[in-house]
């Protein structure tokens, strides 16, 4: 076990996988000399050289397209999108190309690439640098989607992502880079695609991922103090979605809350709510409760920004209302 930050764990995953697999290359804006906008690729260019760590021009569509071509010809590119907010420029390459190539071409070939990016609020970076856009990806068949919440997952999920045969969108949270936790880099990680039950409680199940996992875990003991014991599930990957880990807890508790930073309407929260409502219909005492980002852009004002997404206090408050 070592203590390390989420940032360092990501970096270590890149290093270890690059050592393990010569075909891994990293490409993106400022990933080389600058070391990555959030420092995840710091010094990698010195360790692996300019042919394996490529600083690119500011060309998001071209970067993702190039990664696709590289992946189809034997490399395992890890492309970095500096902010998930820039995914709009890449949606054609991601959605029409990467996601569909295996299918359209009848299974001849896959696109084993990772698109590493980060999202979320917390730095009052404004409407175009604070979004949580995983909903677009989850709504696109063919793209796998991983969103690590813990330092351990930052390491293990990223290494696993780099070994997937299909494109993986890997979204980090900008508010987690300095999170420090114990991590065992050598252990056998849980299977790719499995959710993680981080807390057991018999009254309510909270299904979440990414930074909101920590918010849920922060709210849980306070809820416990009022007599509400919550199960907290970290999905880890949204595609594949491990519903079977969720199911028994909903059946047992009869109450489910889904928590996400992405906007409410027609996104991840909607999917989780729909799935639980369909699959566990007879067991629910209350409607599944969606605690999500408000259906608005994020303001640069720190006050408005903070109020735009779920907080531990909000989770606690809403959970308590579920029992009134």
């Amino acid at each position: 076990m070592t203590m390390m930050t989420y940032r360092d764990a990501l970096r270590q995953a890149l290093i270890d996988q690059m050592k393990a697999d010569d075909n891994v290359i990293i490409m993106g804006e400022e990933v080389g000399r600058y070391g990555g906008a959030y420092g995840v690729t710091k010094d990698l260019i010195t360790m692996f050289g300019e042919t394996r760590v490529l600083d690119t021009p500011i060309s998001e569509a071209g970067i993702v397209g190039a990664a696709i071509g590289a992946a189809m010809t034997g490399l395992r590119p890890v492309a970095e999108l500096m902010y998930v907010d820039f995914i709009g420029m890449t949606m054609d390459q991601l959605g029409n190309q990467a996601a569909k190539i295996r299918y359209m071409f009848g299974g001849q070939i896959g696109v084993p690439m990772v698109l590493r990016t980060q999202g979320g609020t917390g730095r009052s970076a404004g409407a175009q640098h604070s979004q949580s856009l995983e909903g677009y990806i989850m709504h696109t068949p063919g793209l796998r989607l991983a969103m690590p919440a813990t330092v351990s997952d930052a390491y293990h999920l990223l290494r696993q992502a780099m070994a997937q045969p299909d494109p993986v969108v890997f979204i980090e949270h900008k508010g987690l880079y300095t999170l420090k936790q114990d991590v065992d880099l050598t252990r056998e990680p849980p299977a790719w695609g499995e959710a993680n039950v981080l807390r057991h409680g018999a009254d309510l199940v909270i299904v979440t991922y990414s930074r909101q996992v920590h918010f849920a875990l922060e709210a849980a003991p306070k809820l416990a103090a009022t007599g509400i014991e919550a199960t907290v599930i970290d999905l880890r990957t949204l595609n594949p979605l491990d519903f079977e880990t969720i199911r028994p807890f909903v059946e047992q508790t009869g109450r489910a809350m889904v928590v996400t930073e992405s906007v409410l309407t027609a996104g991840v929260a909607a999917e989780l709510t729909a799935r639980i409502s369909e699959e566990c219909f007879d067991f629910l005492h209350e409607p599944v409760i969606r605690v999500a980002g408000e259906d608005i852009p994020i303001s640069v004002s720190p006050k408005l920004e903070a109020a735009s997404v779920p907080t531990p206090a909000l989770i606690e408050k809403i959970a308590r209302k579920m029992f009134q």
Partner: protein
Amino acid sequence: MNSARTDDQEFSGTNSNLFALYRTMCRIRSFEERVGELFVRGQSAGSMLHLSIGEESAAAGVCAAMEPKDTFTTHHRGHGIFLARGADPARMMAEIGGKEAGYCHGKGGSMHIADMGLGHLGANAIVGGGIPAVVGAGLSALHKKTGAVSVAFFGDGATGQGVLYESMNMAALWKLPVLFCCINNQYGMGTRIDQATANPVLHERAAAFGLNAQTVDGLDVETVAETAQTMIDDARKGIPGFLVVDCYRFYGHARKDKSPYRDSNEEETGRQKDPIAFARNLLIESKISNDAELNSLDVDISAEMDATIDFTMGQTEPPLTSMFRDVYAPDQPEPEPLQTRLSRVLSRELPANGGH
């Protein structure tokens, strides 16, 4: 041009470069005519069939300059290129017919055909969509030291797409073994090139990024082939290029389009830029071949291409169960079919595989 022959050569075109290029062009045109026919018979999958008649020299000339290890992507009008690369026309036709026996098991069709064996990284129904992939293929070639070049084929219309410029810039910056091949058939659907840009000399844009850039007249397939050869050789050495092949789209944008937006005089003139007629004349004038030989070639090709239709008509559509296959690699379960899911939900059953 290498087409002049000396009298002591044996009288058979088959060893001549031009003859080979000519044959490739004839096969393309003949194939495309059959695609039209398949459509008329109602046997093509979809109505979106883009024929490359009039553009054969680009396909034949550039592909002749490629090595087997090279890779490429094409646009939506890519039948000719794939054929010139050595594709099996029967499997192509079957794919265009949406049949299981096609290159992509009938899931891709005319606009999404690919074959890894031949280095075909895929046709594309998105204008410009396949261009950046060659940048990545170029990176692979560098990284793995394969010596392979990757060629992006696309139309003049794709010069409207931003991703082309992003790709050119990266290729030039990293000195990648890449060739951008713009088949300028003067039209993007109903829009003539001068209606789509103020400067139709397209290769100048590439030069401004530092690419080795030029335009060649597609009338003469030999010139196309030689220019392509030089540029692909250069690309292999790390001097990426941009080659415009000037030609004319003889017919409508897609099989159904009657091109009402252009007048018949223009079409008349345009169709005079026929690389096949030009090469045929040259073959005869330079005595590489003669009418009889070329006519018998036509017959052979017709027979070969007729057979692709017969083959396709006899093939079946892919089975329904294949629908859920290949969305993901086999390690990830296929998406649960809607009906299975709903039956399960309504009868309160668990998933068959326990969800995993």
